[in-house]
């Protein structure tokens, strides 16, 4: 039987495009380099799967029900931290985003400063900021909220600015042409158009912040984090199972509410 299968890519020579080939080669090179640096050992990886199951077995204990009231209090604190930080960041980010958006900023200098400020603030993870604020104001949820707010401003500011940059210029022109002033142009033409994106971003960030707030307690910045790390160190699986379950329930709840809320608002 003679059948010649000749397959080709949809390019002039039938070969894959050069940038694509270069990209794949670069990716493979980066992967092999990283694997060596992180000491990736496939044998160890395979063996660790077994360990994972053994460790998971530890969770099959009777939960420490007496811990529940404390758990709820800590979880409430965690959620509260996340919501407060997100709200604070929301108020600060919108004006910052206007300054950091090429089409909305008053001049290029302000634009550069705003953009740089937002990237600097985003550079460090929340945990590091939490350490900084704990040494500044002491333990408790306050430094946690401060740390979360700062980092959230960085992310929200950047994402909002990008949402503002892609609004329909024709609608902006329509409002410009009636003689609107600087602020009016942004309030009537730019922000309303960026609103769906802003809301979507905010919901994503709330989701992220709840999980971030859950670990800030590790450095003493409030929330469930401290209890979690303490239970881990003392191998109190009876508590640990409740803690992990509650975080899971919370995040799932958010996952369910989020699309419904989006639909309502957008």
């Amino acid at each position: 039987m003679t059948s010649s299968i000749s397959l080709r890519w949809p390019t002039r020579r039938g070969l894959p495009p050069l940038p694509f080939v270069v990209g794949i080669a670069a990716l493979l090179a980066a992967l092999s380099f990283s694997a060596r640096v992180v000491e990736l050992d496939l044998g160890k990886l395979a063996h660790s799967f077994v360990q994972l199951f053994v460790f998971a077995g530890n969770f099959f204990v009777t939960p420490d029900w007496a811990y529940l009231p404390d758990l709820f209090a800590r979880m409430a604190e965690t959620v509260g931290m996340a919501l407060l930080a997100t709200t604070i960041a929301l108020f600060a980010s919108v004006p910052l985003a206007v300054l950091a958006a090429r089409n909305a900023t008053p001049n290029i200098f302000v634009y550069r400063v705003a953009r740089d400020f937002l990237s600097v603030v985003r550079a460090l993870p929340e945990l590091v900021w939490a350490l900084v604020f704990v040494s500044a104001v002491g333990l408790g949820p306050l430094p946690g909220v401060m740390a979360l707010s700062v980092v959230t401003i960085g992310f929200m500011g950047k994402l909002f600015a990008e949402s503002i940059e892609v609004v329909d210029r024709k609608a902006v022109e329509g409002v410009k042409v009636v003689g609107a002033r600087w602020f009016q142009l942004r309030i009537f033409a730019m922000l309303p158009q960026a609103m769906p994106d802003l809301i979507g971003t905010t919901m994503y960030i709330i989701d992220h912040n709840i999980r971030a707030a859950a670990i800030l307690g590790i450095v003493g910045a409030g929330g469930i984090g401290f209890d979690m790390i303490e239970s881990m160190h003392l191998f109190r699986f009876a508590r640990l199972i409740l803690i992990t379950a509650s975080i899971y329930v919370l995040v799932s709840l958010l996952d369910h509410i989020s699309p419904w809320l989006r639909e309502k608002v957008i």
Partner: protein, 281 residues
């Protein structure tokens, strides 16, 4: 004195295209002027120079005796309403808010600050409502602008311009995105506004038939220059060829089938049968 004086306007775009070459024009108050010409003739650029959406390389534009410059832009714009081919509304806002933006340049300092919270005073709301009633859309005041049909959105655009209580109305290809029947409705509305409110209306069009039916004066442009300036009656086959080039006669011809032409005015004989001319015109 004419309401709009354009003197030796020149505009070259970054890619070397000469959009306007030594364009001079004077427009009397209350007239309905149609700027006719092929794509790329410079019609849009000319119109956009009148409210300084485009800044000319050289030459001056004066509106009501005041020469346009960077300082008085907003003041002049408050007197000049503009209607666009793509309507240029803010889709997510409701119709009433879109029309209210027409009032933004007429607010006092306090009202201006209030407007940032989307708050408007009673007079402004009244003016907006009247503008909406004028275009026949009072019933849709609270619908989101992007839920309206094309023709309705264009009428909202006109209401927004009317809310400014302008002296001049500019329309940049206002019916190009609309079907012929809806387009006719819009042109009729613009003409009625011109006659009743005594506004100066300048419309960019590429449809010759609309120009003939509605204009008091037709200004023909080609390659950045004005090549024709006269009444619709003067727009004969030769004039059309000057504006559009030779191809116009083959495509369109000229015929007395146009119901708006007086019976005695049979233009240059055309080889195209009347029924075809009726269809394309």
């Amino acid at each position: 004195m004419s309401l709009i004086r354009i003197v030796e306007l020149n505009k070259t775009f970054g890619n070397g295209i000469k959009a306007l070459q030594s364009v001079s024009l004077e427009i009397e108050a209350g007239s309905f002027v149609v700027v006719l010409g092929p794509s790329g003739a410079g019609k849009s650029t000319l119109l956009r120079c009148i409210n300084r959406l485009e800044i000319p390389g050289s030459g001056t534009v004066s509106v009501a005796g005041e020469e346009l410059n960077a300082a008085n832009v907003r003041r002049v714009r408050s007197q000049v309403g503009m209607v666009f081919q793509q309507f240029n509304l803010v889709g997510r806002l409701n119709v009433m808010t879109n029309v209210l933006t027409g009032r933004l340049s007429h607010l006092s300092v306090f009202e201006g600050i209030a407007s940032l919270g989307y708050l408007f005073g009673k007079t402004d709301c009244q003016i907006a409502r009247e503008a909406l009633e004028r275009v026949g859309l009072a019933a849709r005041a609270w619908d989101r602008a992007d839920r309206l049909s094309g023709g309705e959105q264009q009428r909202v655009g006109i209401a927004r311009a009317l809310a400014q209580r302008p002296r001049v109305m500019l329309a940049d290809e206002p019916v190009a995105s609309l079907d012929p029947v809806t387009g006719d409705g819009i042109m009729n509305l613009l003409k009625e506004i011109c006659v009743t409110d005594k506004l100066t209306v300048i419309v960019n069009l590429h449809q010759v038939s609309l120009a003939r039916r509605f204009a008091d004066r037709i200004v023909g442009m080609n390659s950045g220059r004005i090549v024709f300036d006269g009444s619709p009656r003067d727009l004969n086959s030769d004039a059309l060829k000057t504006i559009y080039g030779e191809a116009i006669e083959h495509e369109y011809g000229v015929s007395a089938a146009e119901h708006s032409l007086p019976a005695g005015r049979l233009m240059a004989a055309s080889p195209i049968p009347i029924s075809l001319a009726q269809r394309v015109l």
